[in-house]
Symmetry: C2
Subunit: 344 residues, 2 copies
């Protein structure tokens, strides 16, 4: 097994000091007045023998690991998987690697993960925060570590944030339904206090209020399994239906919409004739489903762009003026109108 090359090997071969080699490799040749000819010789040799500095040693000395921690609610959810893919790509281009994990929106697990990431000295944190981690995040910020929150914020936490205009998204989705002649519109959401979910609720309620329509809510508790979800939704819809009080549903997340479609199917309701359907967050399935499903789409690529830009921004900035400015990007959603809301 070939021995790994050290910086001292390079220095020895050229009969110069380690310091000089280090300066040259770190682009400080000019600044440190190393002659051009020596610089060239060093770079040539380094190239020839394919010397690569030991990143662990570098990290120990500099405190930088060129690694970003990415914590999403669930990496297997298409929305997050797509974001993760884009973030990864852009991060690699900037020389950063990504360590990821899924929080499952579990406070204790997330706190643990944050602490593990710290132990590993990641340079920056991208987080979709569960409730109850405010203090941990504040600590990160207090220590001058770059943090970008994604998808949802936490109250009272002045931090860089990237998300969409959820209120507007569900407002316009509701307006769209109303415009199509639907009046008895229900919202199926989760019980969570996550900011983005509250905003989606707010948008729906505002649109309904604006038209003097009565809101109808189903809030699914958080840790309900997929199987239990469908009967719950069925019961809710069926009940409204019995009272002739339902002609459309807005689902507040893509997985709720998937379960919802199954529920609607089992109740043998026709879409869009019996009920109109809109999902928040687009999904491959919505294009393909018959009838295709109208959805509030989030601009995945733009989100990922903003996130990584904010992160790189902070990573580039000198640590001093870190906490001074916080950026916030609230991106617009777009309503993709498909057949599930088109009455004929």
């Amino acid at each position: 097994m070939k021995k790994k090359l050290l910086i001292s090997d390079i220095a020895k071969q050229l009969n110069i000091s380690i310091t000089t080699v280090s300066f040259i490799l770190n682009g400080k040749a000019k600044e440190k007045r190393i002659s051009d000819s020596l610089t060239a010789r060093v770079l040539k040799l380094v190239e020839e023998v394919n010397y690569k500095p030991n990143q662990l040693a570098q990290s120990l000395r500099t405190g930088k690991t060129k690694t970003i921690g990415l914590m999403v609610e669930d990496i297997s959810n298409t929305f997050f998987a797509n974001i993760a893919r884009l973030i990864e790509e852009k991060a690699y281009k900037a020389g950063y690697k990504i360590i990821y994990c899924s929080t499952e929106d579990d406070t204790a697990k997330t706190r643990d993960l944050i602490s593990m990431f710290r132990d590993k000295h990641v340079d920056g944190y991208i987080i979709t925060p569960p409730p109850g981690v405010e203090e941990d995040i504040k600590e990160l910020i207090a220590e001058g570590l770059p943090v970008v929150l994604l998808d949802r914020t936490l109250p009272g936490l002045p931090t860089n944030f990237v998300g969409v205009d959820n209120r507007m998204g569900s407002y316009s989705a509701t307006e769209h339904l109303i415009g199509q002649g639907y009046k008895k519109i229900a919202l199926v959401t989760t019980e969570s206090g996550q900011s983005q979910m509250l905003q989606r609720l707010e948008g729906y309620e505002q649109a309904m209020a604006h038209h003097q329509l009565a809101p109808k809510l189903l809030k699914i508790p958080f840790r309900v399994t997929t199987e239990d979800m469908i009967p719950k939704i069925m019961a809710f819809l069926d009940d409204l239906r019995q009272r002739d009080d339902l002609d459309a549903v807005l689902f507040a997340t893509n997985y709720l919409a998937l379960r919802g479609l199954e529920a609607i199917d089992k109740l043998e309701l026709r879409v869009p004739a019996d009920v109109g359907v809109v999902g928040f967050d687009d999904h491959d399935i919505f294009r393909l489903y018959k009838p295709s499903v109208t959805a509030v789409a989030q601009p995945t690529e733009a989100i990922a762009d903003q996130v990584i830009n904010m992160m790189l921004d902070q990573l580039d900035t000198d640590d001093r003026k870190q906490a001074t400015t916080t950026q916030t990007a609230v991106l617009p959603t777009s309503l993709i109108v498909r057949n599930s809301t088109t009455r004929r």
Copy 2:
């Protein structure tokens, strides 16, 4: 900002040497004959002040980073996203973090990524290899680094591998179609030479041959965009249809099946009356689609289990006897019969 605690702080406070603290923290107290009382005092203080060793320094000294590199073709593909989620979970339980990236099945990119992972000194490699990285992987193995290939193998590479019985999967899918009375069965696959794709092709061809039926193939070139894929599939199916030579299709991957369903939809063919449809690799959509789509399901959880077990196995083993034994797990697929192949 509170100063980070060092091992020397612990030593100083108790008036003992750093060495002793280190031994105790690394569970070598007994072995090194440190008295129980001192051991207890050290552990107590460590607990009280919440001292945590600097992992960078540990890694530099030991050469272990407690990090596993995961390279999949595309982290945003549901199949890989699900696997990634499970692997992450199990890895964390064993104290390992995951760095991931998407190879896009691009040789040059992957070689680059492998080299980056090496620079970062990951302890183990989980890879879905694109063609042309045989040498790089051989090098990893030669250096005694744990490697587990996932989903596909490379010819002439004796390595730990986890995948499914692809040949059997598509064989039985084809048999199923034939059992339902379909005879003019086409296979839509990719042009790639990836082992798993070749096996799926082989299974199909064997089943067809076994019943003296003529195979009909469409091989989609690799870097075709989603939009270009649909017209290609349409043309292929339509052509066969014109010649009255099509009554069922087997799609060799889940994304091909998705595009395929769109194509079938546009051609206004009815499923399963005009064409039966089977997908390789299950997908949420297949349950929900009308009619629901029969699929060859891969046992995601079992795959992830095997992968992480093989990996941890190697990581635990002393480096010496590393390369001696290689494990291979070929898991069975299961055919989930749904409406898309049920003629009435």
